[in-house]
Amino acid sequence: MRNRYELRLSGSGGQGLILAGLILAEAAGIYDNRNVTQTQSYGPEARGGASKSEVVISESEIDYPKVTRPDLLLALTQEACDEYHRDLREDGILIVDSFRVKRVPSPGAFSIPISQIARKEVGKELVTNIVALGIITELTGVVSREAVKRAVLDRVPGGTEKLNIKALEVGFRIGRERRMSR
């Protein structure tokens, strides 16, 4: 892994991307003990329209805190994919929710029906963000599974721990399968 790793989670307001970014940042920063910054698009788009949450993870101190050339881009909507895929590094990882993103800009992208997996395998589309976190963890290796799990448990509302851990485990499995098949 390079010293500085940039992740951008994008989609539309209400998909839980800000929370996903927070969990990722806490996993890397608090539990894996790296340097992190987390920023987000903060505006009317946070409630519908394109929304993004960004995390920079680094072994050294982070100067510029925002993401300019993501190493990982998650796009949960076509709009977000269209807007942000050009910023992705050439060797960057693109993960799209294939249920909502039909025009995939690069053949190397991981097209995974994340929201449908959340609905069918976990039982709630609401946890799409957590399934996506599991997939990102496996495909990037940028945070440890244990750290993500602890960060999820810290942040999700009381009473939903079981559901969210299930979503995370499903994400881990899907991510692992995709990684192996490459």
């Binding site: 927070l22 940042a25 806490e26 920063g29 910054t37 903060y42 100067d63 510029y64 805190p65 925002k66």
Partner: protein, 376 residues
């Protein structure tokens, strides 16, 4: 605390305020500062403090002046449009020498402008916003951790010099989350106000003292005195005596000049052998240090000067550097505010170039690097 946490700049302000002993907050929520009020509304009452959501920013400023006169460390937080509304009572606090802290999280302007995006358009307003020729102390952090520290410093400076002090943030610093390890609040250094040692009937609230800072009694402890925005004599009552007026106005303005070296703070990076200086503050200095490192990697001798105290302006530092430099680049999210100060302090003995941005986006390291290459 004392274990790592991921918090935003706005949360760091709230924690810093609590650590510094702020026990009164009055404000009117406004993006991008609202999380300061939100956090304090929850935490202040638990620590025995008071939180009041006011009807507007004029009243907010009035309320913190009142609370401070009663002896409580007081704070408000706002953004540009609210800061404009506070200007009248900021001048009142300056004239009446009431310690208080105003946090201004800058957003795009003019007017209601760009609520959710960053700007640094209020730098000159912070210095000159209220009428009549006040003097100002304002601090400007570049990280979440420094935001915590400078919030405490603002409270201490206000108490030490008896005046309103501004913590000047921008939206990036306010909303960004970083990993921080905060010290336990008990260990934080707190500056107490200078109190009167005389009997209440002998108390002169605006006494001319050797250090130019009159002792301050809390309302309610028996020292009754008059507080007015009119020019006043040592008793606190209005005066039209030319000598007394001159003495008061010169002392109010002069106490910052007198302690200027004590208050002024800068941070330097790679300056020892630098030929090109990047001058940047707040979030832009994060881009600037990144650009400076990249320029160094390419063999260009660049350095960074970051004013931690943006007011008073670090005149001496700029003046001293002007002759050893090839160029100064001033990067800021406005159309050129600090650049005027850099020109003035350097007497333009060096080439000065501005990098500006007013579209609501943070200046990138690349933009600054391009400017560095241009002048090298």
């Amino acid at each position: 605390m004392e274990k790592p946490a991921l918090i935003s700049g706005n949360e760091a302000v709230a924690y810093g305020a609590l650590a510094a002993g702020v026990r009164f907050f009055a404000g009117y929520p406004i993006t991008p500062s609202s999380e300061i009020a939100e956090t304090l509304s929850e935490l202040l009452p638990r620590m025995g403090g008071k939180f009041v959501q006011m009807e507007d920013e004029l009243a907010s400023m009035g309320a913190i002046v009142g609370a401070s006169l009663a002896g409580v460390n007081s704070m408000t937080a706002t953004s540009g449009p609210g800061f404009s509304l506070m200007q009248e009572n900021i001048g009142f606090a300056f004239m009446t020498e009431v310690p208080c802290v105003i946090v201004n999280v800058q957003r795009g302007g003019p007017s209601t402008g760009l609520p959710t995006k960053p700007s640094q358009g209020d730098v000159m307003q912070t210095r000159w916003g209220t009428h009549g020729g006040c003097n100002t102390i304002a601090l400007c952090p570049w990280s979440v951790r420094e935001t915590f520290d400078l919030t405490i410093d603002c409270v201490n400076l206000a108490n030490r010099y008896r005046l309103p002090v501004v913590l000047l943030l921008d939206e990036v610093i306010a909303h960004m989350r970083e990993k921080v390890v905060l010290p336990s609040f008990g260990g934080v250094k707190k500056v107490q106000r200078k109190k009167p040692t005389c009997l209440p009937q002998e108390y002169l609230p605006y006494e001319i003292t050797e250090d130019d800072i009159p002792p301050m009694a809390d309302f309610g402890e028996g020292y009754r005195y008059h507080v007015t925005g009119l020019t006043h004599d040592p008793t606190g009552f209005p005066t039209s005596n030319a000598k007394e007026i001159d003495q008061l106005v010169r002392r109010l303005y002069g106490k910052i000049e007198r302690y200027r070296d004590e208050i002024t703070r800068i941070e330097e990076e790679y300056l020892a052998d630098a030929q090109i200086l990047v001058f940047a503050y707040g979030s832009v200095s994060r881009s600037a240090i990144s650009a400076v490192k990249e320029a160094r990697a390419r063999g260009i001798k660049a350095g960074l000067l970051r004013p931690v105290s943006i007011w008073p302006f670090p005149d001496k530092h700029i003046s001293r550097l002007a002759d050893q430099l090839k160029a100064i680049i001033v990067a800021e999210m406005n159309l050129g505010q600090m650049i005027g100060e850099v020109r003035r302090a350097s007497c333009e003995r060096v080439k000065i170039l501005g990098v500006t941005r007013v579209d609501g986006e943070l200046i990138t390291p690349d933009e600054i690097l391009t400017a560095i290459q241009e002048v090298s």
